[in-house]
């Protein structure tokens, strides 16, 4: 690792739990999630649909929807303790210090305000600039996310843009105030690969120039490979493996990670795709022991009895599995 290694993390989360009270019982959406993000670093969060990625990041932002209980041992952002900060303090941090590209672009944009008004509002309230300057800056910002005819389209409303355009408008608003931490939840799902390449290059520039740290949530393993230094893999609300991109792509240690990678389609081949067998875990009554056990092909005696802890003695590499495919912890 480079000089970043000894720096204090700009975002540090430890022991995060989020559960929802529903009519059918308590949904444990996130259990004991911990991660650190350093300045200028990209950490990718990947994992099963419904495994708690978005809920975790919403908890960090303080904007979980629904009837939720949130607990954590530590949640620190650039010297601010998010656990003790009041709503007003958190509101000030959002946008300038940390911002989120929502997974759902349409519901995150205000349908009755033009794009120019939404972006301009950000500049006016946070930077106190004139209406005219806010408008000019907004046009500049839209150009930076490669929106065609930005100057002509600035007065259009969200529904008049394509899916990928809305996604880029959302990215634009998240980077407008040049935050220290950007949480990007599936930021390129609606983009074709050429525009995706432009957006990823833009994010790289921001991290190189400003040291912006990025928590990148994506299902696209190609994007992970292109962008991230480290990966954290989630399954059923828990982190099940962490490590450097190179290590994990070369030799995944947790059977879920390995199975996930094996089901990725390739352009070169037309073989039948192989999904992971079995059904998604029930978060109200998870299986005893390891939550992946009903679907695991590597099952051993302990798997249905004892829940494996996330452990690993190599720096940054860990896994929660009794019978890992690659030993990452060999001390003792």
């Amino acid at each position: 690792m480079t000089k970043q290694a000894d720096e204090r993390p700009v975002l540090s989360v430890s022991g995060l739990d989020v559960s929802f009270r529903t009519m059918r019982g308590e949904v444990k959406a996130v259990s004991d999630v911990s991660f650190d993000l350093k300045r200028g670093e990209v950490l990718a969060l990947v994992g099963e649909s419904g495994s708690g990625k978005s809920v975790s990041t919403r908890a960090v932002m303080g904007i979980v929807r629904g009837n939720a209980t949130i607990n954590a041992r530590r949640m620190e952002l650039a010297g601010h303790d998010l656990l003790t900060a009041d709503e007003e303090q958190k509101r000030k941090l959002r946008g300038r210090v940390i911002s989120l590209v929502f997974q759902d672009a349409l519901s995150a944009l205000n349908p009755v305000l033009s794009i120019g008004d939404q972006l301009g509002e950000l500049y006016r309230t946070h930077l106190n600039v004139s209406k005219k300057e806010a408008r000019e800056r907004s046009i500049e910002l839209l150009r930076s996310v490669h929106l065609a005819s930005a100057d002509k389209r600035i007065d259009d409303y969200p529904h008049q843009f394509s899916g990928g355009m809305r996604q880029r408008i959302l990215i634009a608003s998240a980077i407008a105030l040049k935050p220290e931490v950007l949480i990007a939840d599936e930021p390129t799902t609606a983009l074709d690969v050429t525009v995706q390449a432009q957006i990823l290059d833009l994010l790289d520039e921001l991290r190189d120039e400003l040291g912006m740290a990025i928590l990148l949530i994506t299902h696209d393993l190609g994007v992970v490979a292109r962008m991230a230094e480290r990966v954290a893999v989630m399954y059923a609300g828990r982190l099940v493996e962490t490590g450097s991109v190179d290590d994990i792509f070369r030799a995944p240690s947790h059977p879920y990670t390995a199975a996930l990678m094996a089901s990725a389609p390739r352009i070169e081949t037309v073989e039948k795709l192989e999904p992971i067998k079995g059904s998604p875990p029930n978060l109200i009554a998870p299986p005893p022991g390891c939550a992946f056990n009903p679907r695991c092909t590597h099952l051993g005696d302990l798997c249905t009895k004892v829940r494996p802890e996330l452990i690993g003695d190599l720096p940054g590499r860990s896994r929660a599995c009794h019978y890992p495919l690659v030993e990452t912890a060999h001390v003792g």
Partner: protein, 328 residues
């Protein structure tokens, strides 16, 4: 394959306005696009963000009226009647748009069954639970509301609904983009199985070329509102002919860090393609490495030819593979 397309579009165009619906500057979001799908066939539509794919899809299912051109269903001009609505279903790009927040998943997925009076009571519930299981959701999800689901779970609710009435044509707009690769594989396999069993025709809009390769028989590539290349999926994705398709294929990222990192800093720069002021001649000419004077003055038309791999077409004066030029 049977001789008659189940859904056919001829010369579709759609104009919108930028900067206000009345006084804004008009631009063609879709320009003179034709396509045909056979029963049991999947046609993928790929292309740059904003090039008109969703607008095309919305015209095909009757949610948007074309300014020009016509749409034929089983050879007859399409009518917006109920029977037809059942036959042609759509999976929307933005699941939020289409899931009513105040209705349970049961009622959302059962909507086509209710509209067309296909099932009531216990069979209705059973059908919904069967569909939820097929798309990898817990059948108990049926009593919950959309906001209780993750992005990928909502996307699958939209797919389950579109399949409920067993349509003969399914228009899917980025149907698997929010799914992890395993669930994505499950949904792709489900669509392929249904297609084999029921002969459904599928129009599949996607940006992930690997998924396109896995599901589609044919591919159409769009650029700034126009179809620029079409042909068998293998042909288009393995030996692309149009310079834009080549660029698209070259930007696809592999799940391999050493290779994927080579793409850093290599994205195209400069002005994005602009539908409001399209360049004269070929719309791709400002970004094309093969551009000549001819490209800057006249717009190339789609030229089709047939060979062992079926019909292939490209709208370009200097396609990458000579064979097409000779044939054209």
């Amino acid at each position: 394959m049977s001789a008659e397309p189940i859904l056919e579009a001829r010369g579709l165009s759609k104009t919108f306005r930028a900067g206000g619906a009345v006084f804004g500057k008009p631009f063609q979001a879709v320009k003179d696009v034709s396509l045909a799908v056979m029963p049991g066939e999947t046609l993928a539509v790929v292309g740059e963000s904003g090039c008109g794919k969703s607008t095309l899809a919305r015209m095909l299912v009757g949610l948007e009226t074309p300014d020009e051109g016509e749409i034929l269903f089983r050879g007859a001009p399409i009518k917006r009647d109920r029977a037809l609505r059942r036959q042609v279903q759509m999976v929307f790009q933005d699941p939020y748009l289409s899931l009513n927040p105040r209705r349970t998943v049961l009622d959302i997925v059962a909507e086509p069954l209710d509209v067309h009076g296909l099932a009531k009571g216990a069979p209705r519930t059973a059908r919904v639970e069967e569909l939820l299981t097929a798309v990898g959701l817990d059948p108990a999800a049926s009593s919950r509301f959309p906001h209780e689901f993750s992005g990928g779970q909502r996307q699958r609710i939209g797919i389950a609904r579109a399949l409920a009435a067993e349509p003969s044509v399914l228009v899917c707009d980025e149907p698997v983009s929010a799914l992890d690769v395993s669930v994505q594989a499950q949904v792709v396999n489900l669509l392929i199985d249904l297609q084999k069993r029921l002969g459904i025709a599928i129009i599949f809009i996607a940006h992930d070329l690997a998924v396109v390769r896995a599901i589609s028989h044919r591919v159409m590539v769009m650029y700034l509102g126009r179809a620029v290349e079409e042909g068998g999926a293998d042909r288009v994705l393995v030996t692309p002919n149009h310079p834009y398709t080549v660029a698209l294929r070259g930007s696809a990222l592999e799940p391999d860090p050493a290779r994927a990192r080579l793409a850093r800093g290599k994205a195209t720069r400069g002005e994005p393609p602009n539908p409001v002021n399209p360049p004269p001649g070929c719309r791709f000419n400002p970004r094309c490495p093969r551009v000549t004077d001819e490209c800057r003055t006249n717009e190339p038309q789609m030229k089709r030819h047939t060979d062992a791999a079926g019909v292939s077409g490209v709208a370009c004066y200097h396609p990458v593979h000579e064979a097409v030029e000779l044939n054209a």
